[in-house]
C-alpha cells in the first residue's frame, strides 16, 4: 500500500536506531566482562602493560591531583559550612558532623570524582580508542604480536579504577579533616568524639557499599569510553565526535544509575 510507505520507513528507521542503541549496551557489557576477567588474569601483567597502567594513573590521577584536591577542598568546605550552619539553626547541631560526612564522603565526593575523571580522561580515552579503530592501529599492533586488548585497553581500565579510588580517598580524607575543623575547631581534644561518630557512619555495610560504588564508578569511566570507541567504524574519521558524544552521554547515565542504586540500597 503506497500510503503505508512513510510509516514503514519511519518504523524501520526507529527500529534501526533502537538496535544500534542496544548494540552499544551489548558492546559495553561484553567489554566490561572481558575487562574484569582479564584484569584478574596474571598473564595480563607484563612490562608493557605495567607501563601503560603507570601512565594511565599518572595522567588520570597524579597530573590533576593539585587542581582536584584544591577544588574538592573548597567544595567540601563550603558544603560542610552550609550543613553545619543549617544544623545549628534548626537545633540539631549534634548531628552536623554526621550529616556533612554522610552527604560528602558517602555521596557527593565519589560521584564528583567519577564525573571529573570521566570528563577529563574518559573523553580522551574515548577519542583515542575511536581514532585507533579509524586508523587501523589495533590491527597493526596485533600484526606486531601485541594484543591490543591486553596492551591498550585492560591497563587503562585498571589505571582508571585505581585513579578513581585514589582520588576519592584523597578527597574524602580531606573532607573528614575539614569537617572536624568546621565542627570542633582547631583543637585535638574532640578526636574521641569524632572517632565515635565516624564509627557510626562507617560500619561494615556502609564501607562495602562505598567500595562497590567507587569500583563501579572507576569501571564506568574507562569501560564505557573504551567500548564506545571500539564501536567506531574503521576508516570513518567523521564518526569520532559522534563516538565521544555517545560515550559521554552513556557514561553520565551509568554514573547516575550507579548513584541511584546505591541510594536505594542504603536508604530504602
Amino acid at each position: 500500500m503506497p500510503g503505508m510507505d512513510p510509516i514503514i520507513d519511519a518504523l524501520t528507521r526507529r527500529g534501526a536506531a533502537q538496535l544500534a542503541w542496544l548494540r552499544g549496551w551489548r558492546g559495553f557489557g561484553r567489554f566490561a566482562a572481558v575487562a574484569i576477567v582479564e584484569s584478574l588474569t596474571p598473564a595480563t601483567y607484563n612490562s608493557a602493560t605495567r607501563s601503560v597502567v603507570q601512565k594511565q594513573i599518572y595522567f588520570t590521577a597524579w597530573q590533576i591531583l593539585p587542581t582536584f584536591t584544591l577544588f574538592s577542598a573548597v567544595l567540601s568546605f563550603v558544603l560542610i559550612q552550609i550543613v553545619v550552619d543549617a544544623a545549628r539553626n534548626y537545633g540539631f547541631a549534634q548531628h552536623a558532623l554526621e550529616a556533612s560526612v554522610r552527604i560528602l564522603v558517602l555521596e557527593i565526593l565519589p560521584l564528583l570524582t567519577a564525573l571529573f575523571v570521566g570528563l577529563r580522561s574518559g573523553a580522551a580515552i574515548n577519542t583515542e580508542v575511536a581514532l585507533m579503530v579509524v586508523h587501523n592501529e589495533m590491527k597493526a599492533l596485533a600484526d606486531s604480536g601485541v594484543d591490543p586488548m591486553r596492551f591498550e585497553f585492560i591497563p587503562r581500565v585498571i589505571g582508571g579504577v585505581i585513579s578513581v579510588l585514589a582520588l576519592t580517598a584523597v578527597a574524602s580524607a580531606l573532607a573528614l579533616v575539614l569537617a572536624y575543623i568546621a565542627v570542633y575547631g582547631f583543637q585535638v581534644w574532640s578526636l574521641s568524639e569524632f572517632n565515635r561518630v565516624m564509627g557510626n557512619i562507617f560500619d561494615i555495610p556502609a564501607i562495602a557499599l562505598l567500595w562497590a560504588k567507587v569500583l563501579a564508578f572507576g569501571l564506568a569511566v574507562t569501560v564505557i569510553p573504551i567500548s564506545e570507541g571500539l564501536a567506531a567504524p574503521p576508516a570513518k574519521l567523521f564518526f569520532v565526535p559522534i563516538s565521544v558524544l555517545r560515550g559521554m552521554v552513556r557514561l553520565f547515565f551509568v554514573l547516575m544509575l550507579v548513584e541511584v542504586i546505591s541510594l536505594v540500597l542504603k536508604y530504602i
Binding site: S47, S51, H135, M138, A140, S144
Partner: protein, 135 residues
C-alpha cells in the same frame, strides 16, 4: 582478532600504521617489552641499536605525524624485525615510499639488516618489476 604471532609473519603495509601516541623508539621497543616481558630500558636499548644500525637515531623520539615517509618505513620495518618473524612481507612499497626511488632504498635498508631478517618478501605490481635489480 587473528594475532600475527601465530603465523610468524610480519606485514609492512601502508594500512598498518605506527601507534600514534608512541615515539618510534617506543613503537619498536613495545614488541619485546610485551612479548618477552622485557624491561623497558632493555627493550629500548635493542630498539635504539636497530635505529643506529640504519643511521636513523634522529627519528627515535619522533611520533608518526612528524616522520618523513622514509623514517616511517624504517620504523615499521624495525617494528617487524625486532619480533624476528619467519617472514617479513613488504606490501606495495610504492604506497609506503611514494616520493622515493624505492627499490634501491628498500634493498639497501634490507641489506643493512641482513643478519636480523630471516626472510623478506616484497609484494609489488608486476608492472613495477623492471624497477628491481635482477636476482
Amino acid at each position: 582478532m587473528a594475532m600475527a604471532q601465530e603465523s610468524e609473519i610480519s606485514l609492512i603495509s601502508e594500512e598498518l600504521p605506527l601507534r600514534a601516541n608512541l615515539s618510534v623508539l617506543e613503537n619498536i621497543a613495545i614488541v619485546p617489552q610485551y612479548r618477552q616481558n622485557m624491561a623497558y630500558d632493555q627493550a629500548a636499548d635493542q630498539a635504539w641499536s636497530l635505529l643506529v644500525g640504519l643511521n636513523r637515531s634522529e627519528c627515535a623520539f619522533k611520533r608518526d605525524p612528524d616522520l618523513s615517509r622514509e623514517e616511517r618505513f624504517v620504523a615499521k620495518l624495525l617494528r617487524a624485525v625486532i619480533r624476528s618473524p619467519s617472514i617479513i612481507i613488504i606490501d606495495r612499497p610504492a604506497l609506503l615510499l611514494p616520493d622515493t626511488h624505492y627499490p634501491p632504498f628498500v634493498e639497501a635498508t634490507l641489506a643493512a639488516l641482513d643478519d636480523k631478517i630471516n626472510e623478506c618478501w616484497i609484494v609489488d605490481y608486476t608492472w613495477n618489476e623492471p624497477l628491481y635489480a635482477p636476482r
